[in-house]
């Protein structure tokens, strides 16, 4: 009977555990989490912050006995070392946990920029449930809040902070919001949308220091010399994979833990999935770390199938993000920024906050951006990841890029 050990109780770990159980009714499955919580979803944190759900609403599975029923042993135990030679883990308390097949799904951690004052009380990341509790405590209606970073995660948090009616200032070092998810056109529209809603957005601006203010609170010093008072500073300046565990063994590590098309690391019975994994990339043909939920879910499933002996090739990472910024929904897929030899089709209605951009490589769609669209956007994934050859539909999409659903049906069902 095989013993599967999964390190990390986020979505990648949980989906892997469940998939393993489907494939192998008898194997022993141990799921290790490093935080003092039941398996939960970081992605749900923003909805906890808005008050939309209770803490329990962030839990990945709702039934108390869900894991027990499936015979999955969930343990809170931080892992300090992987001994690939001995096929065994060393836990924080020094005990050993042997495995036959190992999955590393330890996720990522927020990056701490080199800014003085980040350890002051009132400065928080927004990554764990514990962080969220702290933020919820400080982000009262009317409170001044500075959000450092207007990337994807920053913008998600922005939405929940706005919902809490705080007085918000967003500081982004780059020249637009969402520099890695939106182009200039889209980023500018989102910025204008936020400003219309009364949020101050400072792009091309750096935080140089955070100081304790006289009489309590914080002062956020900007490179413009300006100082913004704040009761709370939320730091969302990027994440990096939690690959340290794998660092000193035979497991190949680059930006994350490097895996092949089967989500297997350089050690045959060790797999990696989710934010920690650097996996083959569908768009570039290289390897990438994509710290997003759908990728974590796909990785978890495909890794588990392979661990259980059902050989399954992973089609490759595809960047995909959906974001709701105070009612303005934006979506990005794949190589939206184009690149060598790519063609684009765009439709811009700035006044009404609607935007659609498609990127083609030959007669395939390889990337897309949309703003203000919610209908059938998933089909962009189908078009891109399915490598759908568009034929005449390419010209029609060039004439009107919003016809994605018709293009998909027209090219696949004919």
């Amino acid at each position: 009977m095989a013993r599967y050990v999964i390190v990390g109780a986020g979505p990648a770990g949980v989906i892997a555990a469940e998939t393993l159980r489907q494939q192998d009714a008898d194997g022993e499955i141990v799921l290790l989490g490093g935080e003092p919580e039941p398996p939960y979803s970081r992605m749900a944190i923003p909805y906890y912050l808005t008050g939309g759900i209770e803490e329990s609403g962030t839990h990945l599975r709702k039934a108390q006995d869900h894991y027990a029923k499936l015979g999955i042993e969930v343990r809170q135990a931080a892992v300090s070392k992987v001994d690939t030679g001995a096929n065994s883990l060393v836990l924080a308390d020094g005990s050993a946990l042997p495995y036959d097949q190992l999955l590393l799904a330890t996720g990522a951690s927020p990056v701490r920029p080199p800014v003085p004052g980040l350890d002051l009380p009132g400065v928080h990341h927004c990554w764990t449930l514990e962080d969220a509790r702290q933020i919820a405590d400080l982000a009262d209606p009317g409170a001044s809040v500075v959000l450092m970073g207007a990337g994807f995660i920053g913008c998600i948090i922005l939405e929940s902070l706005l919902a809490r009616d705080v007085k918000l200032t967003v500081v982004e070092m780059e020249d637009r919001m969402l520099p890695r998810m939106m182009d200039q056109t889209g980023g500018a529209m989102i910025k204008r949308w936020c400003e219309d809603k009364g949020t101050s957005v400072l792009t091309s601006t750096k935080v140089t220091e955070i100081k304790a203010a006289d009489g309590g609170g914080l002062q956020v010093v900007l490179d413009s010399g300006e100082q913004v008072p704040a009761a709370l500073v939320v730091v969302a300046t990027g994440v990096k994979s939690n690959a340290e565990l794998a660092q000193d063994g035979d497991i190949k590590v680059d930006q994350g833990i490097v895996v092949d098309n089967y989500l297997r690391t350089s050690v045959p019975n060790v797999y990696a999935a989710g934010d920690v994994a650097q996996a083959p990339d569908h768009s570039t043909g290289g390897w990438s770390v994509l710290a997003i939920q759908p990728t974590a879910a796909d990785h978890g499933r495909v890794a588990a199938l392979n661990m259980a002996g059902v050989e399954t090739t992973y089609k490759g990472n595809l960047a995909m993000n959906v974001l709701d910024t105070a009612g303005l929904v934006s979506v990005s897929f794949g190589r939206w920024d184009g690149g060598d030899g790519c063609e684009t089709a765009e439709s811009v209605d700035a006044e009404n906050f609607r935007y659609m951009r498609l990127v083609f490589d030959g007669d395939r769609v390889v990337g897309a951006l949309c703003l203000g669209h919610t209908d059938h956007v998933g089909v962009l994934r189908g078009l891109i990841q399915g490598d759908v050859r568009l034929g005449d539909w390419k010209a029609r999409l060039q004439a009107d890029p919003c016809r994605i659903m018709e293009a998909y049906l027209g090219s696949t069902l004919s």
């Binding site: 209605d349 659903m405 018709e406």
Partner: protein, 615 residues
């Protein structure tokens, strides 16, 4: 319930859009769509107004059932004073636009005044705004529709627009929605053009509810079952479309041919439904690609056709090589029999152009027929036609004029006057085959007597959709009457006219009446709408609407003398077929009709009638 209870008033002069509650008292008396909009129009404009002046108004209107799952309940109408006729105009269209308007929460949109520059109305649920149409002015219906969807980045928007012909004042321009569905007759698109209103684009997401959903689902399911079992609506129309009539009407000797000089067309078979189905030798394909439905329609008579790629009309013109709305019977007749042209692909092409540039194929074909007679009799020559040898049967002349009329250019601009003005201009008013300025559709009243009376008394000018006695006289629905007899036709015409007014005001397609009577409609309305809707009430509403329209026309300056037919139909006997030797017996039917209607011998509703109907 059923009604959205709201109308949108758009003042084009001021550029404002305002919401008003719908007058629900009127709704109980005029139901909706044709009836209710006519009530609003008669209350709001002077019937003597020049149809193309800013003082005329244009109303787009749905019925209470529009947007529900009752079969065919996606209709809307355009009501105004007609540019072609100067009479009340109400043109009904299917497609999907009507549903969209209702789903956006509007029973009606009233356009008034005139915009200083071209605009279009954009409606998203309760948000409505007038937007600049500069970039769309001068483009076809097809391009306008596509470009508006593209601009707003929403392929689900539904658009009703006018083509270049409507901008250029072609007198029989229509309002086209969903590429090939049109509020076709009487020049309602011309009125829209005169207001500098290029299009109305709507996206509706609010939903439509009915009074008693349980009863409504039962009533509509019963209705659908009847349509499915009926030979005409269950088989004939879906398979052959309205074109099923071409050979039938030719055989009974009532297919007006070459400007009504003949009543049978030797080329009928070549332009018939059967021909559209036939596989071509050249490419093994048929003209007809498929049938298509309008919103909610379980009949699906619509034709989607494609022209043979090598046909002269489409070579090197890919936009016409695609499938689009194909020939309906009336269009096939007007473009074909009326002009003596029997090339199905040429007719399909002309029909595409009618849709693309937004004008009525019936009036167009009939006017070309009249012009051909003018040409053959020497009243006009190639000097007037710009070199076109305008002889009956000249296929290329037909397609060339279709394009010219679409652009409002060349001799097409003169065709754009309609036959009455054209024939008067060249000194032969008798050659115009029209009543109250509007051309006949595809039934010769020498072979189908009742239709003569229906045409003569139709409130919007010659028309088959105001009292389709063909159903009884030819098809035996609800019972067979002798097409060559005049006895009993006055009553028949009145009954059809009143019932039709009720159907047209409900949001339903009149083709349901091949299978449904008001007995089948009443339970659908009664379960959907506030108030009680019995057959008797519907008949009364129908009659009230008919009389209201009549009063409008009388006030506009029409008299009983206009309830007439061209001399050709009254004096020149049919030359062949079962009706050989016959003329139309209008004189025998009209007095009885007036009497049954409760009108004076001058054709004016008597005080008693006015009172009885509460007008």
């Amino acid at each position: 319930m059923a009604w959205a209870r709201k109308l949108l008033r758009v003042d084009l002069t001021k550029g404002t859009c305002t919401s008003e509650p719908l007058n629900m008292d009127w709704a109980q008396r005029y139901l909706g769509q044709r009836g209710l909009a006519t009530k609003y129009l008669t209350e709001e404009i002077d019937p003597k107004v020049d149809p193309l002046s800013p003082d005329n108004k244009l109303i787009m209107t749905t019925g209470p059932l529009t947007g529900t799952c009752a079969s065919t309940a996606g209709r809307y109408s355009v009501v105004t004073k007609g540019a072609l006729t100067g009479a009340i105009a109400c043109s009904n269209s299917g497609g999907f636009f009507g549903n969209e308007m209702k789903n956006a929460g509007w029973d009606m949109i009233i356009f008034e005044g005139k915009s200083a520059k071209p605009v279009y109305l954009f409606v998203q649920d309760d948000k409505a705004e007038l937007l600049d149409a500069g970039e769309h002015w001068g483009t076809s219906v097809w391009d306008t529709e596509e470009n508006i969807k593209k601009k707003h980045q929403d392929p689900m928007i539904r658009v009703a627009s006018i083509g270049v012909s409507g901008e250029k004042g072609v007198k029989f321009a229509c309002v086209v929605n969903d590429m090939h569905r049109a509020a076709g007759r009487s020049g309602v698109g011309t009125v829209m053009g005169s207001k500098n209103l290029k299009a109305v684009a709507i996206r509706g997401t609010l939903g439509v509810k009915v009074k008693d959903i349980g009863a409504f689902m039962t009533a509509t399911a019963n209705g659908k079952a009847i349509l499915a079992e009926n030979a005409v609506t269950g088989q004939g129309l879906p398979t052959y479309g309205t074109q099923v009539l071409m050979n039938v009407i030719n055989e009974v000797g009532a297919l007006p041919t070459r400007n009504h000089r003949d009543v049978q067309f030797e080329g009928a078979g070549d332009i018939s439904a059967e021909k559209m189905h036939e596989k071509r030798a050249s490419d093994g394909k048929s003209n007809l690609i498929t049938n298509g439905a309008c919103f909610g329609c379980t009949i699906a008579c619509g034709r989607i056709s494609q022209i043979e790629r090598t046909h002269y009309t489409v070579v090197d013109r890919p936009q016409y090589q695609k499938a689009s709305g194909g020939l309906e019977y009336e269009a096939a007749w007007a473009l074909g029999a009326a002009t003596g042209v029997d090339d199905i692909d040429a007719l399909t092409f002309a029909n595409f152009i009618c849709n693309e540039q937004g004008y009525d194929p019936i009036t167009f074909g009939a006017t070309v027929g009249a012009a051909m007679e003018l040409f053959e009799t020497g009243a006009i020559t190639t000097k007037e036609t710009g070199g076109i040898e305008l002889k009956f049967g000249n296929t290329k002349a037909l397609t060339e004029l279709a394009e010219q009329t679409g652009r409002g250019e060349g001799f097409g601009a003169e065709i754009g006057l309609g036959s009455k003005r054209l024939c008067e201009k060249y000194g032969h008013p008798e050659m115009s085959m029209s009543v109250k300025g509007q051309e006949f559709p595809a039934y010769d009243s020498r072979g189908i007597q009742g239709m003569g009376l229906a045409y003569a008394t139709s409130n919007r000018g010659a028309c088959h959709l105001r009292g389709y006695t063909v159903a009884s006289e030819i098809l035996g629905i609800p019972e067979k009457t002798d097409p060559l007899a005049t006895e009993g036709k006055a009553g028949l015409v009145k009954a059809f006219q009143d019932a039709t007014a009720a159907f047209d005001s409900a949001g339903l397609c009149i083709f349901t009446s091949f299978a449904w009577t008001l007995e089948d409609v009443a339970p659908q309305l009664d379960s959907a709408c506030e108030g009680e809707w019995s057959v008797e009430k519907l008949l009364e509403v129908g009659e009230r609407i008919w009389n209201l329209e009549r009063q409008f026309n009388l006030a506009a300056g029409f008299t009983g003398k206009d309830d007439n037919l061209p001399a050709r139909l009254l004096k020149d006997a049919a030359k062949s077929g079962p009706a050989e030797g016959k003329v139309n017996g209008l004189g025998e039917m009209l007095p009885e009709y007036y009497q049954l209607r409760g009108w004076t011998t001058e054709g004016v509703p008597s005080n008693q009638t006015v009172e009885r109907l509460g007008l």
